[in-house]
Symmetry: C2
Amino acid sequence: MTTLKELASILDLAPSTISKSLNNSPEISDCTKLKVKEAAKEFGYIPNNAARSLKLKRTKCIGVIIPNVTDAFFGKVLHGIEEEARKHNYTIMVSFSNNSHRLENNHLQNFMNFCVDGVLISFSTETQRQKNYKHLNNLESSQMPLVMFDRVLENSVFSSVTIDDLEGAYNATTHLIKTGCKKIAFVSPIAETSVGKNRKHGYLDALQSHGYSSQPICIEFNSYDDFKPMLKEAMKSNDIDAFIAADELSAICTLNTVQQWGYQVPNQISIVGFTNGVMGQCSNPPLTMVSQNAEKMGKETVKSFIKAMEKPNLVRIQHKVIKTELVLRDSTRPLL
Amino acid sequence: MTTLKELASILDLAPSTISKSLNNSPEISDCTKLKVKEAAKEFGYIPNNAARSLKLKRTKCIGVIIPNVTDAFFGKVLHGIEEEARKHNYTIMVSFSNNSHRLENNHLQNFMNFCVDGVLISFSTETQRQKNYKHLNNLESSQMPLVMFDRVLENSVFSSVTIDDLEGAYNATTHLIKTGCKKIAFVSPIAETSVGKNRKHGYLDALQSHGYSSQPICIEFNSYDDFKPMLKEAMKSNDIDAFIAADELSAICTLNTVQQWGYQVPNQISIVGFTNGVMGQCSNPPLTMVSQNAEKMGKETVKSFIKAMEKPNLVRIQHKVIKTELVLRDSTRPLL
DNA sequence: CTGAAAGCGCTTACAG
DNA sequence: CTGAAAGCGCTTACAG
């Protein structure tokens, strides 16, 4: 490992000259710069980022906390984050909360230790259920920019990027109504997240504004062990002819289960889900889905951080909302 | 941001005493330690990792490079990596190569800049196609541990963790033969990766060792644009009654396509794929899959790094191979 | 048991 | 245009 000092003594120049040359300072003559850069290459000089960070008080690192990468949606968001971060010369550190508040808190602490320049976070189910956002207090005092995405805390002092979940669910429900569905149920394994609440809201709003007479039917569960029994129960006491599911997996499970029970999709039962991922495309029939543009969410989150970073004096809080799109496939009937 | 020095002057102690107290040095009296720790908590002292890294010459960071997180398999591996890394108090920095050699190389450089303690890498398609591993040369001289996983360079000086792809494909093919399939084709979008090659090898070995008379049929493609035409062509000139697909997506696509063309699965055509992810479980019929235990791969990769880290003097190279398991579902027929 | 001092590898205000 | 010096926030060998 060649250091800057070593390079200096090799070239018989001062360390400061080397540093300035490598950083393209206008103070240095082109001739010297060239010499230095060549030597740096020759001797495989690699600047030590720890030293640099210590001096400059910025690490060019962003900490990212998501509930789970194996969830296809968060995987895509992470992909978007990484691309956009790289574009701005930031490297990302990632941690997964596994939907545990304790872990989420640990990760946040850890990122502060690492002096990341900012944190991007989507809260764990537990955090949202308990409404426990105390761990953000440190951040507030510390000036470190934090941007929330997808699962956010509303009305907080931090910026956020979200999907227009309410509108997405509203449009999906409206579409079902327009195809002639009379009794639409809402299936949600994420009832306790901000996202789940907004989707439910959209569903209820749509029913109401279309003068829907029958009661809303909400099938909300925390564990897939409870899902089938609850579904059965709901279908026994109602003539359900459509489901809107609050995420991808629950949409697939609903589809597979009702088919197993002998219902035809979409003739007898229509299904719309959220998250337009590969699962919904691979099912049989392919699912009509509310598409969320996960990568865009990732990119916007980074952009929001960059703004806060570059103009820390301007008002920093901004709330970005990304529109959804209803992707029609064969799990719903054609419009009447 | 309270620093150690500030804490020292508050407590009227030397910085070295503070440092030792917080690091639980036996040199310091319990009474002092307690006082220091309490003050640290009170004043919200957060140690600066950059300074620590600079001094200790280790960052407690691992760099991870994978082709793509939106691939469910790599997502799971990453999940395993993060869990195991956290267990050993390492934080991960991640970058995605998007299967580009240039990006992969940039990421590697970047990680060296950050002085990560080690790198875990699964090579890009491009790297494997071009057999271009020059970017590893720097690492060799720099002593930094690197562990390859899944897509690896065989016979190199770096440790590796792989799936037993050959055996997995061998067993899957053998299973198809035992269910009475006569003409088995191999579908691969990853022909140029080490993984793809081993799977093909297993397929060919199985055909041979079961005295299979007919020619192997390999449908290898780089873009899904080419897939359907190639599949059609292959099926026209052969009475294919089974496919083994080298990954999850190609298995799903094969399934959907042959069904679209009117074939019954598994009655007329059997299908086995690789990667036992959620896609294969959601398809109709659900797919028989070679399960790879992706999370275990992630954990083993970290373990291998930890060993190299802790005992740098012992022989460090180790090659771990993880066994696969054939998960039977409804895309294959029962055994004869 | 506590402290003074040096140093990790950089950057930058300042001097020449 | 180049260089000497200080300092970022820690840790640790050494002294007392």
